[in-house]
Amino acid sequence: MRRGSPVTAAYSWLVYVFLYAPIAILVVFSFNRGKQTAVWEGWTLDWYRSLAKNDLILGSVRNSLIVGAVATVVATAFGTLAALALGRYEFRGKGATRNLLYLPIIIPEIVVGAALVTFFGVLSLHLSIWTVALAHVVFSVSYVAIVVRARLSGFDRSLEEAALDLGARPVQTFWRVTLPLILPGVVAGALLVFTISIDDYVITSFVAGVGATTLPLQIYSMLKVGVTPEVNAVSTLLLLVTIVMIVIAQRLQQPPAEGLRD
């Protein structure tokens, strides 16, 4: 491995500091004794204790996790199926379908939010936590489809043909050959959906109904009276959960790939 110049190394470090310093500060200040979010006054776990008693924040975390989980499962399933259809088959309107799939990513969120709330109105679908989950599925399917399609583009179809030749039924082929091969793409898509869902504010603020306040809505509504370090505490915990999830996802992705190489 060739070593880069010290200037390049320093530059890279600066980029990392720029990216991660705010997160580090957020974590450190969740242990700050003072109520101010900018002045250090000593270590404490008080904010984690008061967080455990704050029904409003905890309720919003629960809502965010429910929405995130539903959106992830549904959007990953549909997004993967869409990617397979677009990657495998020729059908009428394929080009249009492909382009339509990109649309939710290109359209400004505020327009998607406004459109969805009008749409729910037309359907007389009452706003609740389920309309939030539905809205998140709408904009997440595209991300999954794009990520999985990228994975499919380097896919060696002869592996599937071999499985079919050896007597596997199409369904067996899908579960035992196709899915394990595209799994990294599917998992990456799912993680992306969960991340986007957890921090979406604009669309959620349009479609949230009674009892559907998610964590970003909750934090935003607290801005008025000052964000307490409880928010730092809850963010730190979420960060921890996310990191654990990513580590698990990476572990899960390895065995099938190695198994195939054997």
Binding site: D55, A114, V117, T118, G121, S124, G209, A212, V225, G226
Partner: protein, 358 residues
């Protein structure tokens, strides 16, 4: 406690147009014929406006389960009610938003006979221009727009709008990023009504604001109190609630001024959306929050003034006697609500664009 987000009102109005074009419910619909409804209540209210123990006691007493969601600007209320599919039973919009909601037929008229505690309300806050005769809204809390200042840096006690227009304070002034509020400050300073529609007076006010612009460090309606608290400016134009809170925390350094020339008074009111269904629960709650002791508990917790007269006995003296929260009658007489000024709005719009863009 109000806050206006720049882009949202226009968008919300657009949405209304789209919704009515699409022929979907909501605006224009007759109120549903609502029966007593269920023993539950869905509230949509400003954050930090209703302490949790007050809600819990209501549930204990009546068996009515309360669910509530919070907002931090008026526009989401408009958006939710316009959707026609949000199941809120009570909302708490600010004065100008009440006017819009009434105009769009999104509120349900109040049945005065069912409001047992209506008599507790201070007539000074009833029958205002945005809702004559209180057909749709009941005062919840009210406040004023003035400015907060850093006592150490200012060097002397203030009582007038003057320092906000004083060239000596260049770079030390923060103004609300709000057209009507900035014009209100200028008009009052010049001795006019803040609802003036006189072209000459408006011209003068615009000239003053243009002269003031080079002195202003920033126009901000979001976290002005933090900018003042951080010491980045000496004078911060803003609503009394947030500024009073800074002053209560550190009275040696900060104070709120309700200028002697007069200022804006604002009020957030409780209203029933036209599609609300749980009417029995709604009226039980409306009575409950106007009980003197309950109302005082709300005021004590949120540090905003209410319009409930008998509640004053139970309000903590440091809140009741804080002129930033409960101004004197005399000071209040010089304050005005921001009214709909009709055609003059477009004149202000033009001036404001000029002021903000030169």
């Amino acid at each position: 406690m109000r806050r206006r987000l720049g882009g949202r009102p226009a968008l919300a109005v657009l949405l209304a147009a789209a919704a009515s074009l699409a022929g979907c419910g909501g605006p224009g619909d007759e109120p549903l014929s609502a029966g007593p409804g269920e023993k539950k209540l869905n509230l949509y209210i400003w954050s930090e406006y209703l302490p949790q123990d007050v809600i819990q006691e209501f549930t204990r007493r009546t068996g009515i389960a309360v669910r509530y969601d919070l907002y931090d600007s008026n526009e989401p209320v408009l958006e939710k009610l316009q959707s026609g599919v949000a199941d809120y039973d009570l909302v708490v919009p600010s004065d100008y938003m009440v006017r819009i909601l009434i105009h769009l037929k999104l509120l349900r008229p109040l049945e005065r006979a069912r409001l047992k505690n209506f008599g507790n309300l201070d007539p000074r806050f009833l029958d205002r221009e945005f809702d004559p005769k209180n057909a749709y809204s009941l005062p919840y809390v009210w406040g004023t727009t003035g400015y907060g200042y850093n006592r150490l840096k200012s060097g002397r006690a203030q009582d007038s709008w003057a320092p906000l227009f004083d060239p000596a304070n260049e770079g030390q002034i923060l103004m609300l990023d709000d057209m009507r509020e900035c014009f209100a400050a200028a008009l009052k300073f010049q001795g006019h009504s803040l609802n003036s529609t006189d072209p000459g007076e408006l011209r003068q006010a615009a000239d003053l604001l243009k002269k003031q612009k080079p002195l202003v460090k920033t126009y901000n309606s979001g976290d002005y109190e933090n900018i003042l608290a951080a010491g980045d400016v000496t004078y911060a134009h803003g609503y009394n609630g947030q500024l009073a809170r800074i002053a209560l925390r550190d009275p040696r350094r900060f104070a709120f001024v309700l200028p002697k020339e007069g200022a804006t008074i604002w009020m957030d009111s409780v209203c029933i959306p036209s599609r609300a269904r749980n009417l029995d629960s709604i009226y039980a709650f409306l009575d409950y929050i106007q009980e003197p002791e309950v109302n005082a508990r709300i005021v004590n917790a949120v540090s905003y003034a209410s319009a409930n007269v008998p509640a004053r006995k139970f309000i903590r003296p440091e809140i009741l006697n804080d002129p930033a929260i409960f101004p004197s009658d005399e000071a209040l007489k010089k304050c005005e609500f921001l009214e709909d000024i009709g055609e003059a709005t477009s004149i202000l719009d033009e001036y404001w664009t000029e002021i903000k863009s030169f």
